[in-house]
């Protein structure tokens, strides 16, 4: 099980409650990634957004910088809003970062649930589906090209007639698809032979089990050559030594984030009852003590069989020191429990298998 963190580069809040500088979020994020690498986490993701709250507008730039200062951790976008970017540019930027990192860079492509990049880059939201399908097709073609040359034609960008797209990493980059639960997305990922990341932001986490089943069934039916069938889960999450402290702290920042988002998107703010229901047991919010979070990851793993779980911790202007502590606890306390439990599980299964033989 790979464990990790993802962030939209949330800014800090100043003492008077106003939003802190966007520049600070960049340096904070790089510090967080270095720490995640140091404490042995497997992956760090950066989600493209273009707002004063989430200024991580160019994940590939941050990833390139992080690539140069980390050793082992995989670095990924989470997500790249592919629909409003140029796949050629996305490929070039991530390829360079991948080479800097020595092959640790991945791309998670998504349609984007936040849609501020559409007006920003001059795209029409009515083309939401079509843009994504076309740009994904091009990105995958570039990544799959053996000699670096690409021949491609589409509707939203000029055709490429055997154009060389460089530089080329030593190996193909891992490209994942992200989905917030639209069934078609699970089928799409399976059809394209791509691993999938489910973003679960509310409700019961295990409600995604049928979608995971759909993804696997689609993979069985499509039999796409060289398919990389893997399931990752991305949820909000926050860890502190003490469970109550973790839940109270995360309520403050998550609740604030959802209230703010609610104002922008016009929905009612969540209540503490709602939060308590979702930050326990099968809820989507993984806030708690290391032991509790480890147990909940394992519980969800039984239902979904995911092999990667990444947590969005710094949502809603969580103070940076608490973010760092949470990363540390995920690496030093949660991860060992999860790994040991899964290892024991594996041994038990092998024993049963051998006994049968």
């Amino acid at each position: 099980m790979e464990l990790g963190v993802f962030s939209f580069g949330d800014v800090q809040r100043a003492k008077d409650g106003s939003l802190g500088p966007t520049s600070e979020s960049v340096t904070n994020l790089l510090e967080a990634i270095r720490l995640a690498d140091k404490v042995g986490l497997d992956v760090f993701g950066i989600g493209e957004h273009h707002t004063e709250y989430f200024p991580a507008s160019s994940p590939s730039t941050l990833i390139a910088a992080a690539a140069a200062t980390t050793k082992n951790i995989k670095l990924t976008s989470a997500v790249t809003v592919l629909s409003t970017d140029d796949p050629v540019r996305v490929y070039q930027q991530f390829a360079i970062a991948d080479i800097i990192s020595g092959g640790r860079v991945e791309i998670i492509a998504g349609r984007g649930s936040s849609t501020e990049s559409f007006p920003l880059f001059g795209y029409d939201l009515r083309d939401y589906d079509e843009l994504y399908a076309e740009k994904l097709d091009l990105l995958l073609k570039i990544n799959a090209s053996k000699d670096g040359k690409v021949k491609w034609e589409g509707k939203f960008r000029p055709a490429l007639d055997n154009v060389e797209i460089v530089p080329r990493p030593k190996e193909k980059m891992n490209i994942w698809l992200a989905t917030g639960g639209n069934p078609e997305s699970s089928i799409r990922a399976a059809r394209l032979g791509l691993p999938i990341t489910y973003a679960i932001i509310g409700g019961h986490a295990s409600r995604f089990a049928p979608l995971v089943e759909l993804y696997h069934e689609a993979a069985r039916q499509y039999k796409t050559p060289n398919a990389d069938v893997r399931v990752a889960i991305a949820t909000p999450g926050f860890i502190a030594e003490d469970a109550k402290d973790a839940k109270d702290t995360f309520w403050k920042s998550w609740g604030w984030a959802m209230t703010t988002l609610g104002k922008v998107r016009g929905f009612a703010a969540p209540t503490r009852d709602h939060y308590d229901a979702e930050s326990n047991r099968d809820g989507a919010l993984f806030a708690g003590s290391p032991e509790e979070i480890a147990e909940r990851i394992l519980e969800l793993h039984k239902r979904i069989g995911h092999t990667r779980h990444i947590f969005q911790m710094d949502t809603g202007q969580l103070p940076h020191d608490k973010f760092l502590k949470s990363i540390e606890l995920l690496g030093t306390k949660v991860a060992p429990i999860v790994r040991a439990a899964l290892e024991a599980e594996k041994k038990k299964e092998e024993k049963v298998k051998n006994a049968k033989i």
Binding site: P119, N182, P183, G203, R207, Q221, V264
Partner: protein
């Protein structure tokens, strides 16, 4: 009395959640999307056994209640002549932050559902199922009489249409609360206190 036949246009998160819950409640459910029925086979077999795939036209023709669960910015793909005399649930929202601004819906005097009613002349439009998160349809449903049972508000100009829609809401585990004429849909659009909020009927 046999339950009405339900047709859902849109196979995204909301459309499939409504399909699953209404099918479980005993409705004969059909579903269609813009990509055609062949795009739905695999999904239905795994997620929605018992639900029938069809073309948009076919599903509308064979159903008594039609649920519109597509992004509002795609509304012009609906052919108005197919909807004559049908009960139509408008579960869509005019939601510029997620789907972009749409010129014809920018008039604040007219709600999005009134505009859809005007567009689908002859249909009996009821606005509902638009103000709840799709996953909550499957997580907050409770049997009738439970004091915690969540309310689902609706608005429409046709009494009979509202009766069959209220039956559906009740059948899938929520208390229908009629807020009156279609124009009252403005009380539970995005940017209102009822949008995405959790109430029981008595609170309303």
């Amino acid at each position: 009395m046999p339950k009405s036949k339900l047709g859902i246009i849109g196979s995204g998160r909301l459309g499939t959640a409504i399909a699953r819950q209404s099918s479980k409640a005993g409705y004969e459910v059909r579903i269609a999307n813009s990509r055609g029925p062949e795009s739905l086979g695999l999904m239905l077999s795994v997620l929605l056994p018992g639900v029938i795939a069809g073309t948009v036209g076919g599903v509308i023709e064979q159903s008594d209640i039609i649920v519109l669960a597509i992004p509002l910015n795609q509304y012009k793909t609906l052919k108005p002549e197919l909807f004559a005399a049908k009960v139509v649930i408008d579960a869509m929202n005019y939601w510029p932050p997620t789907e972009g601004a749409i010129k014809e819906f920018m008039n604040e005097e007219v709600t999005s559902s009134e505009y859809i009613q005007h567009y689908l002349k002859g249909a009996h439009v009821v606005k509902t199922l638009n103000h709840i998160a799709y996953n909550e349809l499957e997580e907050h449903n409770l049997p009738a009489g439970d004091p915690k049972r969540r309310a689902m508000v609706l608005a429409g100009d046709d009494k009979e249409a509202k009766t069959v829609v209220s039956e559906l809401i009740d059948a899938i585990g929520f208390d229908p609360v009629d807020l009156g004429e279609l124009k009252n849909g403005k009380k539970f659009q995005p940017d209102t206190s009822l949008f995405n909020a959790r109430y029981v009927a008595n609170d309303l």
